[in-house]
Amino acid sequence: MFEAVKAVLKAYLTAELLRNYGLVLSLLSLALWMTLFIAPIILFAPPTMSPNTIAGYAFTAVLVFLSYSMATWDWAWELRWLMMSGMMEYILVSGRSIFIHYVGVLPFSMLWMATSLAIVYGILAILVGPPALIVTDPLLLLLSITLLMVVLFGHAMILGGTTISAGTSGPVMEMLGWILPIATGGLTPLISMPEPLRIFAILTPYSYPAELLRYSLLGTPTVLELNKMITIGICYAFIYLSISILFFKLQLKKMLKEGPKTVGMY
């Protein structure tokens, strides 16, 4: 099993990061896209507001957005990519769990995410000022990151399960990758969202880790009492993960009976 994980990790590191300056060029591309959308956000900042606070808010929003993107594109889209390149059949007949493949992919995607965040931090420091991130409660920060990862893994399993059963296309993934962080309070504190959107956001498991993350990094007040937020957040995240794994396994079983779908390029 360890050999399989090592092989996947090595293949991805070589193909995506090392070959043809892939890492440098991809990070440059990401930095430019981020600059395109971050630069105009500065125009909202009142002159009295500290540039570091502005940068802190922008950094936290980008952190949540990139986490969603990682779950959508690195984890869920990976299954479609395997189907597109005709590798899914080989993984299935190898008899190994598909999750072993993910053990190899996860360190790579985490590394990618960490580097992307470092780039975003650098852009904000140049354009606005170093983001003011004050960790008041390290344990709460750790909990919020763990909950975020649990919820996003569940999210990837739901999207991945749908992909292997229906061959979900790129535009659908792209829409979810944009709409979910917006609609579930990933970008904005729930307290400053319009009422109907706030109610919708609080009904989803995504809003709890995002609120806790903002509270622990920026001190932004949460929409519910903190203890309530933590309790509901933990329960909801693990229930969501269990349901999504169950759903994914059912879809996998269905695929083993019917064979992988034929999908187009995008």
Partner: protein
């Protein structure tokens, strides 16, 4: 095969694909709204709408729906031009395209035209409703003017893209990696999201070399109601002159990389 037939064939290809894949159609329509929500919600979370209006002279919702519309329109018209050789290469059809007896340049002229109609669709579903909400019936006229200018802007983006295509594809290697850097860079310099008068001098100079950035400035002046007709006409004139200037260079540039490919073969 005439140029007209090429355009018709490309149009059939584009619209058949668009209406077959409903998710793409929905995404194209939704994109300006999604991008607006993304920027505006972060902006509201850390700042104020009033500050934005004082700085730019336009409500953020109007400013960013226009920016999103321009971004998607320009990418919609010229992106296929920029990516087509790569798509052909990945599908294994590039060699057949290169040896076809058609005039090379016809293929690249045919690509943007059918996509211009999509710009009208995006404008009608994004710009028009938002403008009408903010400005009433007058918004309909203003929206129509912005759509028309966006069409010009999309078309004017094609000749500099042709120049870049020759350079990028002619250099060889994994051109998609370079394209992924050039695209966002051009979008920044276009000034749709961050007006070019706020850019540092170096950025502004490069921005002036892009024909579409002048049209973007006209649109921005229009939405902040500071449009001087003479100034706008001179900006459109500069954009037209640049578009014409890049055309022969673009043709030569494409001929250069295609001839190079014919000589070296396709890997």
């Amino acid at each position: 095969m005439s140029l007209w037939n090429m355009i018709l064939a490309e149009a059939k290809f584009v619209y058949a694909d668009l209406f077959r894949r409903k998710s793409t159609l929905i995404m194209i329509i939704a994109y300006p709204y999604i991008l607006t929500l993304f920027v505006v919600l972060i902006g509201y979370a850390m700042g104020s709408r009033q500050v934005f209006i004082e700085r730019t002279g336009a409500p953020p919702e109007v400013f960013f729906i226009t920016a999103g519309f321009l971004l998607i329109s320009i990418l919609g018209v010229s992106d296929d031009l920029l990516w087509r050789p790569n798509f052909e290469l990945w599908m294994g059809t590039l060699q057949y395209v290169l040896i076809s007896p058609l005039p090379r340049i016809y293929r690249y002229i045919a690509i943007p035209f059918p996509r211009l109609l999509i710009v009208i669709l995006i404008g009608a579903t994004s710009i028009v409703p938002v403008y009408m909400y903010y400005y009433g019936l007058g918004g309909l006229v203003e929206g129509a003017a912005v759509i028309l200018l966006a069409l010009i802007s999309g078309l004017f983006f094609t000749t500099p893209i042709m120049v870049l295509m020759g350079i990028i594809y002619g250099a060889g290697g994994e051109s998609w990696r370079i394209i992924n850097i050039v695209r966002p860079l051009l979008m920044i310099l276009l000034g749709a999201y961050y007006p070019r008068y706020l850019m540092p001098l170096f950025g502004r100079i490069i921005s002036y070399l892009i024909p579409s950035s002048h049209i973007v400035e006209v649109i921005q002046l229009m939405i902040i109601e500071k449009l001087d007709v003479l100034y706008a006409l001179s900006l459109i004139g500069i954009a037209t002159a640049l578009f014409i200037l890049y055309a022969p260079i673009g043709v030569k540039s494409i001929n250069y990389w295609e001839t190079k490919k014919l000589r070296e073969g396709i890997r």
